[in-house]
Symmetry: C2
Subunit: 302 residues, 2 copies
């Protein structure tokens, strides 16, 4: 049998993991006929809706780096995607971004109603922690994953990033402040994804941890600069949601505040530093390919 060329092999891995994520979420969520029915329908609607699953893929790719079998990564991957989907449900609410469309379909509060959407987002947070607390990992691994997920999602993590964005809405900010904000808003959950994969495999050593931190930092902020640019320059068909939503809600972004060339250059620099952090590591191809794919997507409008 011919060996599969390296790039195809990685593509094959990633595509398998994407399938695993869908199954992992689907099997772990309560069935749609569980009482209260409307809530469980909304939770499933908002999670099983064709996301790109970048964060879930990072869990598998990072665990793969450390030699973990996929089975060990299903629960942390489902958990991180539940947190990501909760944040999208709440971000889309009228009081926040007021987005009616998500991933090409009505957002949760449009498909259901605002009250159900708020509660579905809340319940997905609980779901994530419940899943990790009962996973098959060692007690130390489970507690490390719970701590990372709670910190990186919390008031000085992802949720804090959303609130910080409200604070500066319509104001002039420095490049540095916007990068710090984006690190919270987008970077921290990327960080959590990478670390959940690592701790889901085993407790990582200091060198690996430092490299993964650097990988997450570059990818996390680069990703958000890319989102700003795509919102400013992309089209509906590509985004699966309305472009120019940032301007509509008066959001302060890299695209609205700075020269697009400057944003693009810094973004590329961040992606490259992310990828370079993996230099010399075995089994790092999936992490590298994910960063390259996010980079390519972010550059696709140029």
């Amino acid at each position: 049998m011919m060996s599969i060329p390296r790039d195809n092999e990685t593509t094959f891995l990633l595509s398998g993991w994407k399938n695993r994520i869908e199954i992992a979420i689907e099997q772990r969520l309560p069935p749609a006929n569980t009482k209260p029915v409307r809530l469980h329908q909304a939770m499933r609607y908002a999670t099983l809706n064709g996301g790109k699953r970048v964060r879930g893929l990072l869990v598998y790719a990072s665990g793969y780096l450390l030699g973990a079998p996929d089975e060990l990564l299903d629960t942390p991957a489902a958990a991180i995607e539940a947190i990501q989907c909760f944040s999208l449900i709440h971000d889309d609410l009228p009081a926040l971004d007021n987005d009616d469309i998500r991933r090409g379909k009505p957002s949760c509060h449009k498909a259901f109603d605002e009250a159900t959407a708020i509660l579905a987002g809340d319940a997905l947070q609980m779901f994530a922690f419940e899943q990790i607390s009962t996973s098959s990992h060692s007690e130390a691994q489970r507690l490390a994953m719970i701590k990372i997920l709670a910190e990186d999602s919390g008031s000085v993590g992802m949720i804090g990033g959303g609130a910080w964005e409200l604070d500066i809405s319509g104001k002039k900010v420095s490049w540095k402040e916007l990068e710090n904000l984006h690190w919270l808003k987008c970077g921290k959950l990327i960080h959590a994804s990478v670390l959940l994969g690592a701790y889901g495999a085993k407790v990582p050593n200091a060198d690996i941890l430092a490299r993964l931190e650097k990988y997450a930092y570059g990818l996390g902020i680069g990703y958000q600069i890319g989102n700003d640019i795509l919102d400013g320059m992309g089209e509906f068909e590509f985004l699966g949601k309305s472009p120019r939503s940032d301007q509509q809600v008066g959001r302060t972004t890299f695209f609205t505040e700075f020269e697009v060339e400057k944003a693009k250059n810094r973004m590329v620099e961040l992606f490259d530093s992310s990828i370079n952090a993996l230099d010399g590591l075995q089994r790092a191809e999936p992490l590298r390919q994910i960063a390259n794919q996010v980079k390519e997507r972010s550059l696709s409008v140029f």
Copy 2:
């Protein structure tokens, strides 16, 4: 020195614990000047606002039953109160109960804004899990507490109870369904409080666990029947919020659906079964007194 009479001793314990709860929350929340400032202000506003702290008190009282020093119970008490306060913030939102007043003051979305209130509620959930994951308990105790808190708060717990209530809004329901709903909506977090105290002390034995489960069931549902009655018959000054809010939002409650005498009788029966579950136990006086206080408050309108 004269020994303090038994009842006074318990009152003294409870009042000391109430102070501990305020300090435990205050010291564990990020300072109000932490970025993003408005979010952290909102989190503190909505948690340090003079609640009755029944759930936090249950943590100490249950831990006391099992002989734990108070220090071991500060973190689970702060965590359960954070979850309770998150649920009140989200319940008060315009899309849910649309309550402008909470504990005699503007509710969080009125004092701040809807977006900040949604995010503050989200961040308090993360805060609760982060706190327990890094507490000084054994790994097994921490994981047990996290599992209980996530399950009892989640889609088949407290949050599920809120959603179930939306499902039946304006509909006729059986007594049994309403009790099941109230077990989720109010009872499950009472259950979590009692069990967090127990597991915060040590892993409880089967007899103690069965008694605590029975105590939580009677108190949890009795408490919610009491809330229904107080909403229907109480006054603003007593409640610290607008009465008759249930009717205003078309909620189906024990008060709106059934004879008040029948509701009252079942409530008393539940409280009594709760208290009786503690028969013969040493160090159960605080748990008994909490149930008696909730019972008295619920009966105060008759």
